[in-house]
Symmetry: C2
């Protein structure tokens, strides 16, 4: 299963969009008209199959009347509490 972090992020964001849209009783066509994004494109984004651009997500958030960060919180598990803080991960010296 080991879904990589980027796939996981797209899945999470898509699920949040879908949950918000459903919570407001909107269908895909209605959100499509509110955002100017096509129904098929929204479907791909909500199912985590498309890596949307920033302004695309912003239009969705705006149409749903939620702040953009509400779609993005806890992105790929890089929240402070979850990161060891001791494990420095990568070191610039390796690249310089």
């Amino acid at each position: 299963m080991t879904t990589d972090p980027e796939t996981h992020l797209l899945t999470q964001v898509g699920q949040r969009i879908r949950a918000r849209r459903a919570g407001q009783g909107l269908n895909l066509d209605q959100l499509a008209r509110l955002t100017g994004i096509s129904g098929p494109a929204l479907s791909l984004i909500e199912t985590g199959k498309r890596d949307a651009r920033l302004t695309t997500l912003a239009r969705i958030a705006s149409a749903l009347r939620i702040p953009l960060e509400a779609l993005v919180v806890d992105g790929a598990g890089q929240r402070d509490a979850e990161r060891p803080a001791s494990a420095e991960g990568y070191d610039l010296k390796d690249y310089q």
Copy 2:
């Protein structure tokens, strides 16, 4: 001047990235190696001239060791406090 909201969002996000990168003493080439995103692409993103994909922003946030939402907060002024909440804005009936 009336910069449209999307341009404003890209500018803001770019400025946050640059501020964080500078705050960590990294130059573009170093961040490019950490993220796998080319220097020119990072430059365009930081100057608000490119509409990056979600996973691109996530890679930048990860390299800067900050949560993704830190790049995105206060997106286009659609924070709750700023929205009238009474003014419904648009009405789906107009589109149906």
